[in-house]
């Protein structure tokens, strides 16, 4: 006797219909990389999987005018190989390349990563830096919400029952923008993030920082930009002393948010370091680099 059923959806409309069929608890299935792991430690919490992994509009990466849209079922491999993303948002590509191993990247998706909302989810810091919008569809219609607001706490999102994440969209950063994603894992590959940081920024013609966004990962309970730190950087010339002060402030704000926890002695040193390194990388060096 199967514990749950399976059905494949071919369009968004069909998927939403299946997810909202009365009398059945249906949930979306994308890459499977989170669901099957969760099933090993949780009794089955659904009656049916709705496979949305091959719905055409959900597996596309598109660029138009000044926005990029990434389907929720786009895999990390596909994203990492995308010319558009490699050129326009390289730090997002770095994040994708840092997730799991090749087989996991071939299956894991943006939608799954956001919906699962693990505190160490690697796509989140970059998406939050990009002020990415999550697009959801339900029988009530479509809605949009910033990813940073959608993810509320570890494994907790604002996705409503029967709602389907279809894609994410964000403004393309300016041509002069540089970005960087740094991840710390316990070993050199296929690691859960101990801590990470995504940084996006640019300099104006006088070499002042005119734009910066900073979002650490696995640092506070849900991924968020640190606006005070960003503001303290804007209008200044890049320099190591400036970055150290910004990094100190970032750490202080992290601790203010979480309180001093068992991991704080480690994180306060490591976060400061990767904040300094990422700022240095984008403002004093040549931009993107994946540094472990």
């Amino acid at each position: 006797m199967a514990k749950y059923d399976y059905v494949m959806a071919h369009t968004v409309e069909e998927a939403v219909g299946l997810l909202n069929e009365p009398g059945l608890r249906s949930i979306p299935l994308a890459g499977g990389t989170d669901i099957y792991v969760a099933l090993r430690v949780n009794p089955v919490w659904f009656d049916r999987l709705v496979d949305i992994g091959r719905i055409p509009e959900m597996t596309e990466i598109q660029e138009d005018e000044n926005r990029i849209s990434i389907g929720a079922a786009v895999t990390f491999s596909k994203a990492a190989g995308s010319k558009i993303l490699r050129e326009k948002v390289p730090f997002l590509v770095e994040a994708c390349e840092s997730i799991g191993g090749p087989a996991v990247r071939n299956c894991g998706t943006f939608g799954g990563n956001v919906a699962n909302a693990a505190v160490c989810a690697d796509s989140l810091p970059s998406l939050v830096c990009l002020e990415a919008t999550a697009h959801l569809v339900s029988p009530k219609g479509e809605r949009q919400i910033k990813v940073a607001h959608l993810v509320k706490a570890p494994h907790e999102t604002g996705i409503e029952k029967g709602e389907l994440l279809t894609h994410f969209s964000f403004d393309i950063p300016s041509k002069s923008a540089r970005s960087c994603f740094i991840k710390i894992g316990r070993r050199k590959a296929q690691s859960i993030s101990r801590l990470s940081i995504a940084v996006l920024g640019s300099l104006d013609s006088e070499n002042n920082i005119d734009f910066v966004r900073i979002c650490p990962g696995a640092a506070v309970s849900s991924p968020t930009r640190f606006l005070n730190v960003e503001n303290a950087l804007i209008g200044n010339q890049p320099g190591e002393a400036l970055f150290t002060s910004a990094a100190d402030q970032l750490v202080a704000e992290m601790i203010a948010s979480t309180g001093r926890r068992w991991s704080t002695p480690y994180k306060e040193v490591a976060l400061k370091a990767i904040a300094e390194r990422s700022l240095k990388k984008i403002f004093l060096e040549d931009g993107s680099a994946h540094v472990n």
């Binding site: 399976y6 494949m8 890459g31 090993r40 191993g101 071939n106």
Partner: protein
């Protein structure tokens, strides 16, 4: 439910419950035990197969989701006459095989890599194997085998054309 798909270039139809994974489908329902299970959380890669040309952990793939698609398992990797192919021969020649449990997954990951990259560096090979754990070999001779195979395939012009290994 009835699951119809292509396995190692042959059409397959199998009746199986909806709630099993591809690894269980292959091993228990189709009795193709070359694909192994060793962790079931997508960390060790011993369950690796190639699905529509991409390396996947079959322990994380819903069996029904392969309907109408192409799966290649270790049983599909060989020369036309059924003998080991060049990669497999190099695995043997270089001493890359000890207990053998990780080897089907390693072979799949290697073929997936060589289908995308003609002459990977040793570092690139290691990155491509990051999802395949081995506890016996320390990986050195496995990397040697893949590096040698890549060189040979470049020399005889067979790399990147081998879309489907079980010709």
């Amino acid at each position: 439910m009835l699951i119809k798909f292509t396995l190692n270039n042959k059409p397959v139809t199998v009746e199986a419950p909806a709630d099993i994974t591809l690894s269980v489908l292959l091993r228990d329902y189709l009795k193709m035990t070359g694909t192994k299970e060793a962790c079931e959380v997508g960390e060790c890669g011993s369950c690796s197969v190639i699905l529509d040309g991409e390396l996947v952990n079959s322990c994380l793939v819903a069996a029904p989701s392969v309907m109408g698609r192409e799966v290649t398992s270790i049983e599909g990797i060989h020369d036309a006459d059924g003998s080991p192919n060049d990669l497999q021969r190099n695995f043997i020649a270089k001493g890359a095989v000890q207990c053998g449990y990780c080897i089907p997954g390693m072979v799949m990951a290697s073929e997936a890599l060589l289908a995308k990259k003609a002459e990977p560096t040793r570092e690139e090979i290691r990155i491509a194997l990051a999802g395949n754990l081995c506890r016996c070999t320390g990986y050195m001779q496995i990397v040697d085998a893949i590096e040698t195979t890549a060189e040979e395939r470049t020399k005889n012009g067979t790399n990147l054309k081998r879309e489907n290994r079980s010709q």
